[in-house]
């Protein structure tokens, strides 16, 4: 595409930049500039009172992270969260998509219906689930009626994070289900036909053809799931009224960044944590892009 300057017609140059300019201005001011600014901030102590002032402290903010007990709690919560949520929602999405890919009646109805939680706002979903998790709410009612112990889902540190996990598996699995559905349609039908001639039953076909053929997509779904869990904010903020409680049980990385930046007004330190989180997420993304591309070539 790159040609020597002389070969571009003046009209093309003008219209090219004309068409690009809104995007350049917006992305430049609110994406590129902030990236540089955030690196600058993470190396400074920022004072917001009166006029904004900066004091260079080098890697001081990053050193402070090592001794920050709440940061390690947030990180531990995030890992625990990812470890349970990602495999559960991936398996659920795969099972639902495989069933919906069969020639069953009303499957379009189910596709549309299952997707509903994904389009509903997180604020609404959290409120509905807090209402279900309420002491005399629906979940405890069901647990009680089948003879299981009930919990104080909102106030007990040992189950509060589990409550958010259940909600998120439920609301995110449909998104991955749709991605799986699209991928299932790309598997060549003749693979199944050949297996049928060899006498394979439905179960064997699923394990020997469907699952291996979906490997690249599964990898994509897992990585997107991990990135999503690392970015968790709305749910834990609303659930805990911004505190990350009870007893830091629902504290996540982004919530911690928010607290330092907008409650303690410690923008430099908050930027350092954000920078750390962004590097982790970007590493996961880069690894995914590399591996995903290689898988595709096979």
């Amino acid at each position: 595409m790159a040609k020597p300057f002389g070969k571009h017609k003046l009209r093309d140059i003008l219209s090219g930049y004309g068409f690009m300019s809104p995007a350049i201005i917006i992305l430049g001011c609110f994406l590129l500039l902030p990236i540089g600014y955030s690196i600058f901030l993470s190396l400074h102590r920022v004072n917001l009172l009166g006029t904004v002032s900066y004091k260079f402290i080098g890697v001081g903010n990053f050193e402070r992270m090592l001794d920050d007990a709440r940061l390690w709690i947030a990180l531990k919560n995030t890992f625990r969260y990812a470890l349970i949520v990602v495999p559960s929602q991936t398996m659920l999405a795969l099972v639902l998509a495989s069933i919906l890919n069969m020639k069953l009646r009303y499957r379009n109805f189910f596709r549309v219906a299952f997707y509903l939680p994904t389009v509903t706002s997180s604020a609404v979903l959290v409120l509905i689930f807090m209402w279900i998790y309420n002491r005399n709410g629906l979940l405890n009612f069901i647990l009680e009626s089948v003879g299981l112990p009930t919990y104080n889902w909102l106030g007990d540190p040992s189950v509060a994070l589990l409550g958010i996990m259940i909600m998120n598996i439920w609301s995110t699995a449909p998104l991955f289900m749709v991605i799986y559905l699209a991928a299932l349609q790309d598997i060549p039908e003749n693979l199944y036909e050949a297996a049928e001639i060899d006498g394979a039953n439905a179960w064997r076909k699923f394990w020997r053809i469907t699952v291996p053929q979906l490997k690249p997509v599964t990898f994509y779904v897992i990585v997107m799931g991990i990135i999503g869990t690392f970015q968790l904010f709305d749910q834990s903020y609303i659930f805990s009224a911004g505190s990350g409680g009870p007893n830091n049980a629902t504290l996540t990385m982004v919530l911690l960044i928010y607290q330092y930046a907008f409650k303690s007004l410690d923008m430099g330190y908050a930027s350092a944590i954000a920078f750390f989180l962004a590097v982790v997420i970007m590493l996961i993304t880069v690894v995914q892009r590399l591996l995903f591309k290689e898988e595709k070539l096979n």
Binding site: L127, L138, F141, M282, V286
Partner: protein, 274 residues
């Protein structure tokens, strides 16, 4: 994939069961929004209210004068953000796919790199920039930074690249300029891609929580998502009001989803697995 007939009933049962799991929270919330508070507090599992009432809806509209304002703020922001994105993303995508100008390759790779940058990195610097611009507590604080998005510029570029060139060339012979070509020929043919974008961007802006939370401190400028959260704090045990407000917030997103649904799977295929 063909399924053996033996297992068919089993699969229908699974689907029906999962449909129940999907719907119960919504139905439970809907029914609570029509119940009286004493009935809610008493507990129990009745989905049909014993004393059906519209009072909860009346109360949130009358006693919370800002509720209508929050609704308007959310709708105004979501519609404006969607309109800007449709225009700016397709303009940029079209330029990257079709027009030859110096720097276009560099721009394309920059857009690709931007897709990978996690939003968390820009939260604090963006806040400080918006504060410097004196935009805190204004609509443009949310609308302008969201008005173009790298992911959808890339999506539109991919769309236009696989677009037949002949139509454009024919129109060019008829004397249409670049912009006329773009608005009269290209955009109308890009409807499926634009519809998919409409859903994603509208939903994203309507449901956005973090940005209005940090940029709007004036209660009148809250969006519904942030308003609902303070509402919860204020009416802490009035689940009847909270559920009615939640239902109101869900309806517009639901309508958009139902209306644009036929483009949905197509759109996700487009962005999801690239």
């Amino acid at each position: 994939m063909r399924s053996s007939n033996r297992f068919r009933p089993f699969f229908y049962i699974l689907l029906a069961l999962y449909a129940v799991i999907t719907f119960v929270p919504f139905v439970w919330a809907l029914s609570a929004s029509f119940k009286t508070l004493p009935e809610i507090v008493a507990g129990g599992i009745n989905f049909i209210p014993k004393h059906f009432t519209l009072d909860n809806y009346r109360t949130i509209f009358r006693q919370e004068p800002l509720f209508v304002r929050w609704f308007f703020n959310s709708a105004f922001i979501a519609v404006t953000v969607t309109a800007f994105n449709l225009l700016f993303n397709s303009m940029a995508g079209y330029a990257l796919a079709r027009i030859r100008f110096p720097g276009s390759t560099l721009m394309f790779y920059s857009i690709l790199a931007m897709i990978m940058i996690p939003g968390q990195l820009t939260i604090i610097p963006s806040y400080l920039i918006i504060k410097e611009l004196n935009w805190l507590n204004s609509y443009q604080a949310i609308i302008v930074p969201m008005a173009a998005q790298a992911t959808y510029i890339f999506m539109m570029r991919q769309f236009f690249i696989s677009f037949p060139k002949e139509l454009e060339e024919a129109a060019e012979l008829d004397g249409l300029g670049r912009f006329g070509l773009f608005t009269k020929v290209v955009l109308p043919l890009a409807k499926p891609a634009l519809a998919a974008q409409t859903i994603f961007i509208f939903m994203g802006a309507w449901n956005e929580f973090l940005k209005p939370l940090m940029l709007m401190s004036d209660k009148a400028m809250f969006t519904l998502s942030v308003g609902l959260n303070t509402f919860k704090g204020q009416y802490i045990s009035f689940w009847n009001y909270i559920m009615a407000a939640s239902i109101i917030m869900t309806i517009p997103a639901l309508l958009i989803y139902i209306f644009f649904n036929r483009f949905f799977v197509k759109g996700i295929t487009f962005t999801g697995t690239k």
